[in-house]
Amino acid sequence: VSDPDLARMVAALASAEIGRRDALLDRPLEHRRWSELETRVRAERLEPQLARAVELGVLAADEQQADRAESLHQSAMATALLLDRLLLTVAERFDAASIPFAVLKGPAVAHLDYPDPARRAYGDVDVLVPSARIDRAVACLEATGSRRSRREPRPGFDRRFGKGMSFRVPTGGEVDVHRTLTLGPFGLAIDLDDLWAGRESFRIGGRELDALDRPRRFLHACLHAELGRARSRLVPLMDLVMTAPRSDSEAGAVVALARRWQCDAVVLAAVAAAAHRLRWSPPAELTAWMDRLGPSARQRRWMAGYRGDRRSSARLTLTATEALDGWGERLDYLRAVLWPSGTTMATRTARFRRGLSSWSRRSS
């Protein structure tokens, strides 16, 4: 079995989650190859899908491999439970500080969109906070010992332009606080009032929490799948399929939002990626509406900043200005990105030097 075959097998595990039940392997892999498969599965957070494929018998495994698959699933679920507990702690603190929030990604889709929350592994907690409460959310998390991974380039940048920020929590785990759903021009083009206008609740540990509604979760999955990394990871594509419109009205809502948020091109590309990599057939409700999406030349130009040969942070920065209203906003954005404050520069320089000295220690 060659490496590309392992890559195909991992994609097929995700594909099986959405209902494609072709046999993946009819005899167990030899143990070294199984270890390589485990590494790929962990990197993609597909432990639940591996365990399920073994349990359903579509992936042949010997006894030891079947035990490993179960153990990996249990370990991934242990992490998810600790993150659920962390989410509940954050929820309690935000409530006490009157900070509204909505849960994004992992915990939200696990409980709302998958047949069983045990079928979705995740590695951090993501919450959306309104722009006007971002500074308060930062202060609230820092007051309890959480440390943000990067400073904002200039005071007020997070609240006005940022995608969000990450925090390391002293008890372990990471909390990402989002202002919008993605970096760069597509994140800035999202109307934040519109983003908050559709919500749905779910329960964890007996507590009710807010998430985005299904059309917004679908659009978030599209943005995450298509713009998050150089190549789509499989879990965001699974999320896309799991949150895909189930009715004509949901599909209509998705298309209307995509047009207002100027992300038609992203939706079309993400749906095509899911269809290709997961061998997914988009539902008729969605395809009937997708003809109404009209990606503009500007959207295609924006996408080039995230993906492919022309991908660069400079391009993202420049195209981001196109999504801002007025020259004042654009100049403030460019000034913050190109000339960060002295404190931010000092922090970045210190981090660079630490990285350099640890590299030179390793080299010697």
């Binding site: 073994v54 249990q74 242990a78 507990r85 045990a118």
Partner: protein, 88 residues
């Protein structure tokens, strides 16, 4: 005889062979398989300990006295972890 129930704030997930439980007072999640996982299933609604043990014994075609002896420590750990409530 005690009645047992899952606490409403308990966090848990089912896996193919078992269940992973994180009680409110636990430091870390605990995974259990086999009969202990069946016992967790039996606690969906408040249930008398004897009835829960009989349910598991039927599933595994085992002697109730043996099942009761083997599962008593599991219930004890879940109670200490804040995963279940015991009432008498």
């Amino acid at each position: 005889m005690s009645t047992w129930s899952r606490r409403p704030d308990v966090l848990w997930r089912r896996t193919a062979r078992g269940v992973v439980v994180l009680g409110a007072d636990a430091d870390r999640p605990r995974a259990v398989n086999g009969p202990a996982a069946s016992l967790w299933d039996a606690l969906t609604e408040p249930i008398e300990e004897r009835d829960a043990i009989d349910l598991v014994a039927r599933v595994y075609e085992a002697d109730s006295a043996v099942v009761a002896r083997d599962l008593a420590p599991v219930l004890d750990v879940w109670r200490r972890d804040g995963a279940v409530d015991e009432s008498t």
